[in-house]
């Protein structure tokens, strides 16, 4: 997923959200979660101390985080997979793709394999263009097969 000019630039880090996810910098960190922070807008953030370094993890909008019961991971040992980035403020950030809770094996998933945010709605639930609702299917209501249907040509 590529950042574009319409993304929110997060204060402090300067990271583009939600488009700042870069597949080329995807990595895994492991450590204890602390300092969960819910901003007024933008992604829920928390810290993961790995021993040598501390990453600020950018997760998802609050409603999505809340539905996944994200606050429950405070103090837990987790493995975070995501896109690493060095912020403008000199801190290490990770845009989370998924968080695996080591004690239970449960995974909180925030993004698809290609980094597309799972909380994005829209007409293509599979993420593909041309899915259900695509204007290419030829019906104003977004269904049909392009050339058929009652009274539609």
């Amino acid at each position: 997923m590529a950042a574009n000019e319409k993304d929110l630039v997060l204060p402090g880090s300067g990271i583009y959200y939600p488009g700042g996810f870069d597949m080329n910098t995807v990595g895994i960190v492991q450590g204890k979660v602390y300092g969960i922070h819910v901003p007024e807008s933008g992604p829920v953030q928390f810290l993961v101390a790995t021993g040598r370094e501390t990453f600020t993890v950018l997760a998802a909008p609050f409603w999505f985080w809340s539905d996944l019961k994200g606050n429950a991971i405070e103090g837990m040992d987790v493995q975070v997979r995501g896109s690493k980035s060095l912020g403008r403020d000199g801190k290490l950030y990770m845009i989370a793709q998924e968080v695996r809770i080591l004690s239970s094996g449960k995974t909180l998933s925030f993004r698809d394999d290609d980094g597309f945010p799972s909380w994005h709605g829209g007409e293509q639930p599979g993420g593909g263009k041309g899915g259900f609702g695509s204007p290419m299917r030829g019906d104003g209501a977004g269904r049909g097969a392009g050339a058929g249907g009652r009274g539609r040509r």
Binding site: H120, G121, G128, P135, G142, R150
Partner: protein
Amino acid sequence: MTQKKIFLLCLAAAMAIGFSYDARAEWEIGARTAFDSNVNRSVNNRDGDFLVTAYAAYSRQPSGETRLDWTLRAIVEGAAYADYSDLNYAATMISPGISIAINPQWNLNISPFAQAKGVSDSDQSAMAYGVRASLKQKWNKALYTGQYYTYTDNNANEDVYSYSENAVGVFVGVKWTPAFFTEVGYEYSHGDSFRTVSTSTVLTTPTGRRGYHRGYSQAYNADVYSETVDRNAISINAGYDFTKSFFTLLGYTYNREKGDFDTLTYHTGFLGLGYRF
């Protein structure tokens, strides 16, 4: 339908587009070539035809940053038929809506829509209004499903081409790779539908047993009548993204319309190329 109504709808679509440029706005242009095995909706003399359609669409998708968001879709399209040139048309559609993320997996969208369509055979030019409600589920990273209901009230210049329709449908999709997906869908609808019957048949078949009878149509070179039908449609679609913006879509639908007097079956298929930006 008046030219003024079409103009006002186009203007409304353009204004909506202009006022809604934001984070999840997308444009799409594309073209498709399609085949309809019974383009004249004939009971006894079906005729197939190819058509080419070009379209430009604007959509404002929910950002997902909040549970409740609004959506907008506007489409302008035009189509040309290989043989049935009287069916060539231009159309514009606008559809605002609301989107509700029920939970991370379930999403509900409710969108009223209005469509203006100008057809070379002006009897078929129409204004349509309706509403669509769709519910979608993502079960995992690959599998998704959906259900929808659509009500359409289509008011054509000639009543025989007007219809109101209630449709419900379901679909199942699999995203095999980030670039390739397939979908299978089923739709049931109940509403009015026009059919054509060749003049020679009319001479031997009492038209009084049929539904609303309009008379002779030059576009189809046949008599036209309408009746209330139940339609069942099964569709298969496959899409592939060549790049982040450039994609193709292939689709096929089998349709069966059963009325009090006649049953029609026909096949439609299309191949399209699109570009999003």
